[in-house]
Symmetry: C2
Subunit: 260 residues, 2 copies
Amino acid sequence: MSTVSGELQMHTHIVHVHPAPGSYNAMLTQTAGQRLRAAGGTVTVSDLYQAGFDPVERADHYKSRAATESFAALNEQRHAWKTDTLPADVAAEIGLLEQADLVILQFPLWWHGPPAMLKGWMDRVFVSGGLYTSRMRYDAGYFRGRRALVSVTTGAPRGAFGPGGRGGNFDTMLWPVQYSMHYLGFSVLPPFISYGVQGHGYSYEDENVLHDRLKRNLDDWSMRLSGLDEAKPLDFPGWADWHEDGSAVAANVLFESGAT
Amino acid sequence: MSTVSGELQMHTHIVHVHPAPGSYNAMLTQTAGQRLRAAGGTVTVSDLYQAGFDPVERADHYKSRAATESFAALNEQRHAWKTDTLPADVAAEIGLLEQADLVILQFPLWWHGPPAMLKGWMDRVFVSGGLYTSRMRYDAGYFRGRRALVSVTTGAPRGAFGPGGRGGNFDTMLWPVQYSMHYLGFSVLPPFISYGVQGHGYSYEDENVLHDRLKRNLDDWSMRLSGLDEAKPLDFPGWADWHEDGSAVAANVLFESGAT
């Protein structure tokens, strides 16, 4: 757990999602590991592709079924948590999350969101009745006091992103994954976005310019991780902001985007 | 293809995503099929769970590789399209999309977005170099002139959704999937949202009230499908709205949400 000085003895868990071992995403994960260990912390990594994680939530995963006539995911999740019969891969992922002061989600932006591999990790690992209940959510969530951070790469250059931009606005595109982390109680730090990550031969830049820019970006990532304690979490609504039925006490478009 | 009268001879393809054959999602898909056929149209369905579709984009799917030293998804997709070596399941899904005047995406909202199964269908089936190129996108997209429609179910009741609401705002939550359909050229019709779809024994309502409400909702869905030609598509930006670098000519927050 964190101490007063923050990064000292901090444990970070990185959920790493990319199909290629030598990818730029892998370099970002490696850079994060080096930086956080150099600061005295410990780091674990779930490399979901390497592990062959199955992101499809379905009946096959549950050995002891709550109901066999039809599959209702939340029902089976609650039953599996209560009877201690969670799928082994899910139990392992939960164990890693429980140890972490900081969780980093590292992935490439595919179709304006996380790859299916990460989405399905959420579908399966964020277990109903275990990691959340109707009242143990948001600012009363299981992981309250812990922090989460999205680190995402794009193919398109920085200019294409923003309100009305061709590539979309990150406040909107990351809202589902970031709000889901908030749902579990995490304080969600502003995302780190690596723009214009192009494969060799597909760059819109000179290869040397690309190489230098992406190298500097790793330094920026390292710097970012050195200053986490100064980072203000994203401003998402909590229980005080809602009526009993879940509607907003005062509709606030800032909540919408998770903008800081 | 559509005729002047619209629904006559219209072909609809439904991408159906739910792990349980008897789910309310299945009833929505069945209702859509009945209504659209009754109007003289034809309907096909991809039931991704039943088909055992693999939503994980990775090297294994590609028999003829563009590069074997490292896996770059877009690179392999372009190569597979060009050499006519697409994975068989992907080629079949593309064939079904190509026949459709209207594509319906039917799924439950899981963690503020589509299940991994649908996200991975997008990751794999929306093939780079085939269904889009750098210029064949958005209003110049492959499927321009065709329509798409999201039909989504929620567990939480209607009151919890909207700007600042506990469950999130659908303009934001559906933006990634709807904008991705726009990216391929589809005109995206306003979504149909079925709120408060609760399993038996987990309802916040009396079971009879629940049953009647969900039954009426199927009628609403049927009615909605009868009036598609009056539906104004969502207002997403196109090529005229961007500078060459992809930044917005005039930043417009309405674009952001895809709000009508």
